[in-house]
């Protein structure tokens, strides 16, 4: 197969194979299918959102599809002082949560992947386990831990030291704390994948020239993970803007109103104000596009971040000496606060007949009644099975799609390839409630019979989780040197074989992190599932909402504990399968 002369990092042009008289270029076919898929999954929702923002009539009204548009929604949104105060709140909340989450997550990732801190693997596992617990449970747990009058911490301080209401979770910083710890695992997963793929020779060269550990960290290690760090910051920021549970449960009392709650309240009224909600979504989209533009500018020299080459290596672990006990203690304290404290609260509440502060009476009243009630109800099992199917299927599909996107964006010179990255990332701007409504309306209007099936939920999740998975995989893709691809091409390996046998295995850290992230979030996602749920396709998250709306926090806690156990099993199985299939740890 002829291979033309090419620039480094650029795919050679293949002539393709002849098939029935036509040349078939598998790479072009893959690209074509990818473009069509992205257009279907991303452009359609965005067109509907933008269109709805330019109409004051709702979907379904007779003049909704006419060409008369109006900017009245924009005037209403941007013309009210409430919008600007909400914007300020949103940006402040998002910025502070992002910074806290990033610093904590980066510290843990560095400790676990790049130092000789004892118990590093355990720390990483406990932190990642935190993702499994639904956000609404974490928020309620922290309300019970740190609310002014009944919070366990405040009660302890009051009884022990006579200090009243020292902690107030219903405050701006209380919201920042809960949101930040919700996002720490995302930072950890993004950065740890990059840390794992770092070739130590650059750092060794630095230390050999006399630079100490700290200087090497600042001048070599940190710049090398710049794409991952920027991706993390971007994702964290947009996640904090879009987040729902913390502002909904705590924001009212804290006096902090943000975009996501405005959209929620606008879509909770009768009649639903789709126009205004869509307008807020467009504002969020503009922000996300701007962020992505900045991100691309900052990482435009992606060749500088390539650390995975044809030579084998093991990541270098920095020897901290006595400091490793301090890092161990700090990291354990952090993961204890982030994961174990709410988990313990959940376990405690799940064993109670009704909520009460810890006491001898409370412990004596504990039983497994909530678990028995859950497991004996047929209405519990089917949603959990549905969620498992949706989670595994969606995660696998998302990972495949983003692998292709990342490949074409970072490993080819196709004109306009950046558009793929924008398309893959843009859905992060769509609030879940709008995404769910968009999919519902679209599939009601089109003759595709997937209403009420698991497929419609999976397709909505594919759109929703593309941005996150894409950043995981893009960071890893950027680190792969093109010499590996070139070696395969010189050997005459077809493109598709090169992609599956060479590229994908090298992406393992990013792929696994992305798969895990998407699977867990698809399992616990609430809003989209609720909007698309019917009797046949109820998911575990819909059960969570049921319990919450009924005030069954105790049963909800029991369900959360069961979910935690189940997902731990699923993740263990996936790790076992990946090892059996030969996706071994290369280093």
């Amino acid at each position: 197969m002829p291979v033309t002369e090419k620039k480094p990092g650029v795919e050679p042009v293949h002539e393709g194979r002849a098939l029935m008289g036509f040349r078939v270029d598998w790479r072009s076919i893959a690209l074509g299918l990818l473009v069509i898929g992205l257009a279907y999954q991303v452009i359609i929702p965005f067109l509907m959102i933008i269109w709805t923002s330019l109409k004051t009539t709702r979907p379904g009204e007779s003049d909704f599809l006419t060409l008369s548009i109006t900017f009245a929604n924009y005037t209403r949104a941007f013309g009210s002082s409430g919008f600007w105060s909400t914007s300020w709140n949103t940006l402040s909340f998002a910025t502070c949560s992002t910074l806290v989450a990033f610093l904590v997550g980066a510290f843990i990732a560095w400790v676990v992947e790049r130092t000789d801190t004892p118990l590093a693997r355990l720390i990483g596992m406990i932190l990642v386990g935190r993702i499994i617990i639904p956000g609404v449970l974490i928020t309620i747990s922290w309300i019970l831990i740190a609310s002014p009058n009944i919070g366990i911490l405040n009660q302890f301080l009051n009884q022990t030291f006579g200090v009243r209401n020292f902690f107030n979770i219903y405050s701006f910083w209380g919201m920042v704390w809960v949101q930040a710890i919700e996002m720490v695992p995302l930072t950890y997963l993004l950065l740890s994948a990059s840390f794992k793929a770092m070739d130590p020779r650059l750092e060794e060269a630095s230390t050999m020239t006399g630079a100490g550990n700290w200087r090497t960290l600042r001048r070599i290690s940190l710049p090398l993970i710049l794409p991952a760090a920027l991706a993390a910051l971007m994702l964290l920021f947009v996640t904090a803007i879009e987040t729902f549970e913390v502002p909904l449960l705590m924001g009212g009392r804290a006096g902090v109103r943000v975009f996501s709650t405005e959209i929620f309240f606008n879509t909770s009224r009768t009649p639903v104000d789709w126009g205004l909600s869509s307008t807020y979504s467009v504002a969020m989209l503009a922000l996300c596009v701007a962020l992505l533009f900045v991100y691309f500018r900052l990482v435009r020299h992606s060749e500088r971040y390539r650390t995975v080459t044809g030579k084998d290596f093991r990541p270098r672990r920095i020897e901290l000496g006595r400091w490793r006990y301090l890092t161990c203690t700090l990291a354990l304290l952090i993961v204890f606060l982030i994961t174990l404290v709410p988990l313990l609260m959940m376990i405690y509440a799940s064993l109670l007949p009704f909520y009460q502060a810890p006491s001898r009476v409370a412990f004596e009243s504990m039983s497994l009644a909530n678990y028995t009630s859950l497991l004996s109800a047929s209405s519990t099992i089917t949603p959990m099975i549905n969620s498992t199917i949706i989670g595994v299927f969606t995660a696998t599909l998302v990972v495949l799609v983003v692998s292709l996107i990342a490949y074409f964006v970072h490993k080819t010179e196709i004109p306009g390839r950046k558009l793929l990255d924008y398309l893959g990332f843009a859905p992060i701007a769509i609030p879940s409630v709008i995404l769910g409504a968009t999919f519902l309306w679209f599939y009601l209007l089109t003759p595709v019979p997937i209403i009420g099936t698991l497929t419609i939920i999976s397709l909505a999740y594919l759109t929703k989780y593309l941005p996150f998975a894409l950043r995981f995989v893009s960071n890893s893709m950027m680190q792969i040197h093109p010499e590996l691809d070139e070696a395969a091409q010189v050997a005459g390996v077809p493109w598709w074989r090169n992609f599956f046998m060479v590229t994908l295995p090298l992406l393992k850290p990013g792929l696994l992190a992305a798969w895990f992230w998407v699977m867990v979030h698809a399992y616990r996602e609430l809003t989209v599932a609720l909007m698309l749920a019917r009797s046949q396709n109820r998911t575990a998250a819909v059960l969570i909402l049921d319990f919450w709306e009924q005030g069954s926090f105790l049963k909800l806690s029991a369900f959360g504990v069961l979910m935690f156990a189940l997902i731990i099993v699923l993740v263990s199985i996936s790790h076992w399968i990946s090892r059996r299939c030969g996706i071994q740890e290369q280093y």
Binding site: E15, F22, R23, D25, S28, G32, V35, I36, A39, I43, I44, L47, P59, G60, E61, L65, S80, G82, S85, I140, I143, S147, P148, N149, I150, L249, G252, R253, G255, R257, F265, S268, R269, T270, P271, P353, F354, Q356, I414, P415, G416, R417, L419, L420, L423, L440, W441, L444, L445, T446, I451, A533, R534, S535, R538, D546, W548, Q550, G551, F553
Partner: protein, 365 residues
């Protein structure tokens, strides 16, 4: 060889084609004459026994029934299970996870797009505004409406567009360990007492509660009430049941607005729960009803549900679950309590009330 040299052009072309396709989509128009309503009109002419026989035979032929039931969780599931047991020949596909507004919105979306997927929705009457306006609801005349208690009958639609089957109350309640008997609120304006400063909770901007206060007091007095409530530093927190749980745990003293049944249900499980309700002042009654889809795919099964929903079996279940039945005495509210039905005010009044609440209570401009 086919290659895609310019992704931007491809994407643009695709987007244009897609837009054109979407613009060419027209939702199907509602039929002028509903076949479902014709069936019900014919059934209405029959004697009751013959009528029920025809309904049941028709339901057997149809074999299935799709319902969006907004009584949630165990309450809704238990209610539907009773219906299933009563009519085992029907395959019942029921959703009981979505709110009243969402169920109405879903029927609206389905019918607008010409997809007739749902037979009946059970929602708050106040949330049926849009589907009534679009004439998506069938008229279902039934003698069963006569079973409804006299004090609630006027809330039932005389044209049969909905049939009441439960009602809920919005009222005040408090933590009796934190509020001494002599300070207990007896009137809505008692919540303005400085004793309750920072200790009265509401859900954020709940339309039904705000219009309910309007129905009790009128617009002018309602806005004065908003003002004094706002001056008393209210707690604004989402989640009716969550607020009750927090109140009973000692977080704050008073529920300025909530459903009473949940607290009473908790007290039933735990008799020492310090839950007390206020019955001295008018309370807001929100009516729950079944609406039949004008294009219901299974009209006889829908009729079977409508008839069953007001039977003693259905109503006794709801009463046992501490929800307000419409044909039986209320399980805990005495006959002397003054109920004020929650009727939607004119739109401009509702908008003024909402704006006043946001400005005065939630302190938002």
């Amino acid at each position: 060889m086919i290659t895609f040299r310019n992704l931007k052009s491809m994407a643009l072309l695709f987007a244009v084609i897609l837009c054109a396709s979407l613009l060419s989509l027209q939702p199907s128009r509602a039929q002028d004459l509903s076949a479902v309503e014709k069936i019900y009109a014919d059934l209405a002419k029959l004697p009751q026994d013959e009528r029920m026989k025809r309904i049941e035979e028709g339901a057997r032929r149809e074999g299935k029934f799709t319902l969006a039931h907004t009584l949630r969780g165990d309450l809704g599931n238990g209610h539907i299970d009773l219906f299933r047991k009563r009519y085992p020949f029907l395959k019942v596909e029921a959703t009981s996870d979505i709110g009243s507004q969402d169920a109405a919105e879903r029927l609206y979306a389905e019918e607008t797009s010409g997809r007739h997927l749902t037979d009946v929705i059970g929602i708050s009457v106040a949330d049926g505004v849009e589907i009534l306006r679009k004439n998506y609801v069938a008229r279902y005349p039934t003698p069963a409406a006569a079973k409804i208690n006299a004090n609630l009958r006027k809330a039932n639609d005389p044209d049969g567009r909905w049939l009441l089957f439960f009602w809920s109350e919005h009222a005040m309640s408090y933590n009796s360990n934190m509020v001494p008997a002599d300070k207990a609120p007896k009137d809505w304006f008692d919540l303005c007492n400085p004793f309750f400063k920072g200790n009265v909770s509401f859900d954020p901007a709940e339309v039904r509660f705000i219009t309910g206060i309007y129905n009790i007091m009128g617009e002018e007095k309602a806005i004065k009430w908003f003002e004094c409530i706002g001056a008393n530093n209210p707690i604004i927190q989402r989640g009716h049941t969550q607020r009750i749980e927090l109140m009973l745990a000692g977080d704050h003293m008073v529920q300025g607005d909530n459903y009473l049944y949940h607290g009473l249900s908790m007290k039933r499980k735990n008799p020492s729960a310090p839950y007390a309700i206020v019955l001295d002042t008018p309370i807001i009654a929100g009516m729950g009803a079944s609406f039949v889809n004008r294009n219901a795919p299974n009209p006889h099964a829908a009729a079977l549900w409508m008839e069953w929903s007001v039977t003693d079996e259905s109503q006794s279940y709801l009463s046992a679950q501490l929800r307000g039945p419409v044909t039986l005495p209320h399980p805990y509210l005495p006959d002397t309590v003054k109920l004020v039905e929650n009727i939607d005010p004119p739109k401009e009044v509702a908008d003024r009330l909402m704006a006043a609440w946001m400005k005065l209570v939630e302190k938002k401009r």
